[in-house]
Symmetry: C2
Subunit: 93 residues, 2 copies
C-alpha cells in the first residue's frame, strides 16, 4: 500500500504518501552527510532531530530544527548532514 | 538499518528511529479508523493531514492538525480516524 525506498545503503529510508498539496515522502536519515538531487521543487520540513543544509551554489550550512521548513529548487543537488537520526517530511511541488 | 512495520493490512506503515528523547516512529496511515494499544506513554504529533482522536474512556473525537501533539497514557487503547493519508511522529516515553 505505502511504498518504502532506501538510499545510501539503508542510511536513508522513506515512505511515499499523498497530501492535499500533492505527493510527499516521510523519511529518516542516520548520522552522516548526503547529497540529494531534485526533480521537482522540494519543501523539506524537519520532524525530529536537527539537519544542516547546504543549498546549491552556497558554501554556508544552515541548521534546521523540528517543524522548520526549507525549500530546494528543481533540478539541483543539495547537501544535508546530521549527527544523529533525523526525520523529515518532503513535499514535491 | 531502519526497521519498518506494517499494520492493518499495510494501511499503516512506520519506520523506527531514535531521538534525543528516546525511541520513536515515523508513520503514515491511509484513510480509515484504527484502534491502537499502548505499552508506554505515547506523544503523537501529526506531521501531515488531519487526525481525529478518541482517547480511552471518552466519547468525544478531537481533531489534530500538522505539528499538533496529543499524549496517550500507557497500557490503554485509543482510536484514530482520518479521511486521507495522514503522517505522524510518535515518541515512546
Amino acid at each position: 500500500m505505502f511504498k518504502t525506498n532506501e538510499y545510501f545503503d539503508g542510511n536513508v529510508k522513506s515512505i511515499a504518501f499523498e497530501t492535499a498539496e500533492g505527493p510527499a515522502t516521510l523519511g529518516v536519515m542516520a548520522a552522516g552527510e548526503y547529497v540529494f538531487g531534485t526533480s521537482t521543487i522540494e519543501h523539506m520540513t524537519v520532524v525530529s532531530g536537527s539537519m544542516q543544509v547546504q543549498q546549491p551554489g552556497e558554501t554556508e550550512w544552515k541548521t534546521y530544527q523540528p517543524f522548520d521548513t526549507f525549500i530546494v529548487a528543481k533540478d539541483v543537488k543539495f547537501k544535508v548532514k546530521m549527527s544523529g537520526d533525523t526525520a523529515y517530511r518532503c513535499l514535491y511541488k
